[in-house]
Amino acid sequence: MKASLPMSNSSTVATDNRKRVLQFLGKHGILLAFLLCMMIFSLTTDRFLSTGNLLTVLMQVSILGTIALGVTFVVIGGNLDLSVGSLLSFATVLVVDLHDKVGPTQAIVLTIVFTLIIGAINGTLVGYLKLNSLIVTLGMLSAIQGITLIYTSGQNVDIQDQENTWFAFFGREAIFGIPVPAIIFIGLAIILQVVLLKTAFGRKVFAIGGNGVAAAFSGIYRNRMVFSTYLLSAFTTACAAIILGSRVMGSQNNVGQGYELQVLAGVILGGTSLLGGSGSIMRTVIGILILGFIQNGLLLLGYPYYAQWLVTWVVIILAVWLDIAAKRGRLLNDF
């Protein structure tokens, strides 16, 4: 704005340019990081950029990614969901255990129902009782883990006849060479992206996260919307559990431990603001894929698996920093 004035000197032009660069980086930084990531790994390893390897990455991130889709809705709505890790353990244990007891179809249906019930509890506490989402889902994290352990009596569960069940379809098979987990992940991502951008539901989620008061005056029921976002994150967690159960054909009772923060890392990396009101499914998918490519690329380069954690640390903070700096127009805070 100052550049249009005739008396603008070189220093304001410089700051304006810097602002523009920052804004560009803030808006497209995540895509650039994604491409940079791909380029570095393609140039440094010869196996990275092959269809087989890319499909492997897609399959590896599918569980984390599927959960992240639902969590994105919760976060855009201005809340957090830390219970998804425990919920994943719960749902995976349930689907695997019920598989042998009542059959695969019933197991899947029951798992989705029970997971949705827990999602509804989250949604009631945060939506209707207006309790702080971080603490509620932290409490639920602990409670659900306890319920899972009580249900299994501390034992791990597995499916007896692993060869002859069509349940293997979700985690172990492929259609036209594409692994089914990847298809579920990408399919759900496309559907939910459409829901988020093209439906009234999606717009309302943005509205309650962006400005709850304004949303209320526009006649949007915040409570009901928050409730629905938790149902959604429970549903995608159930889908992830079905993939996981089917792939492993068994489950440890704490299999999802730590997933909640990994998922959040992916969502944040995609640029969804923790304050709510902004974000997109597409970007979450990219955030999750970056995490996956970092892991895969570093392994191909011969680094141990924990090297990815160090890189993730730097990448997450850089990504969010750029995003904030772009909005602020400056790199550093001034207090």
Binding site: L82, L125, L129, K130, L131, N132, L134, I135, V136, L138, G139, M140, L141, S142, A143, I144, Q145, G146, I147, L149, I150, G154, Q257, G258, L261, Q262, L264, A265, I268, L274, P304, Y306, A307, Q308, W309, L310, T312, W313, V314, I316, I317, V320, W321, I324, A325, R328, L331, L332, N333, F335
Partner: protein, 316 residues
Amino acid sequence: MHAFIQSVKRQPIWLFIIACIIFFSFSNEYFFAVNNFQNILVQTSTIGLIALGMTFVMINGNIDLSVGSTVALAASLAVGLQGALGIPMAVVIGLGAGVLIGAINGLIVWKTGVDAFIVTLGAMIGVRGLVFVYTEEQSFYASNFAYSDFGMSSIFSLPVLALIFIALTIVAHILLKYTLHGRNVYAVGGNRKAAIEAGIKVGPHMLINFMLIGFMAALSGILLSTQMGASTPNLGRDYELWTITAVVLGGTRLNGGAGTIIGTLGGVLAIGILRNGMNLMQVPSFYVLVIMGSILITVLFLDKRLNVTASKGVQI
């Protein structure tokens, strides 16, 4: 009487503790014994020390998710280096590493303006990576028995670990309640803009609190490793969640601006007593998880209902 009701409203957790003590004393003969209370203090000191630091950070309106990883880093360094450098030097390096991680977190929060939740979430993942890089996935054992003896030792028949916890609780209470730094903790958490206007150097102030919690997490990790005479790279997983649970049970607000060390002590003891009591009653530890989760949500619910008038005044 009015003052009593007010203090109960503010810290319902102490009522819960009294109820727990009465309940467990009647249902188990071993619970109400000096010996057992010493046990509880030692068991809770690990989470308790971190919770003291977390109280400062959370009243500030920040949060620190990296404490669990810092616990592992400090413990691994203290145990891993003592063969080459001697115990005192190794412990100093372990504590120093904790302070350094806190300083990095604080500096990033200060300079970049990225939310502490995200900064420390990153650090939680990254510091765990550092631990694995350093230990190469190995557990370390303290070859010098003086190290593990310290964790078992007592002064005047009080366990040293419990004494350290009590002493630091008192120090933290005084620091928070009676010093300039302590008052600033509330000022920054209550209204950051006003604090800046009032001339408080908010950035450096938050940096100090992050270094404080880094130190406490490191100390907690080192004391934990003296108890076991060993360190594992996965030490301290989920500690951040337990610590936050304890601090919130103690009445500290997530949004910042309110909370006390006495409350945090209550939160820590509540968890410790519940675990210990149910353990003595031979209830499987699974149920403790469910009960803890339910209590956390109930406390949050009660806090909202009981303090509804108080909080309305502040809300915009």
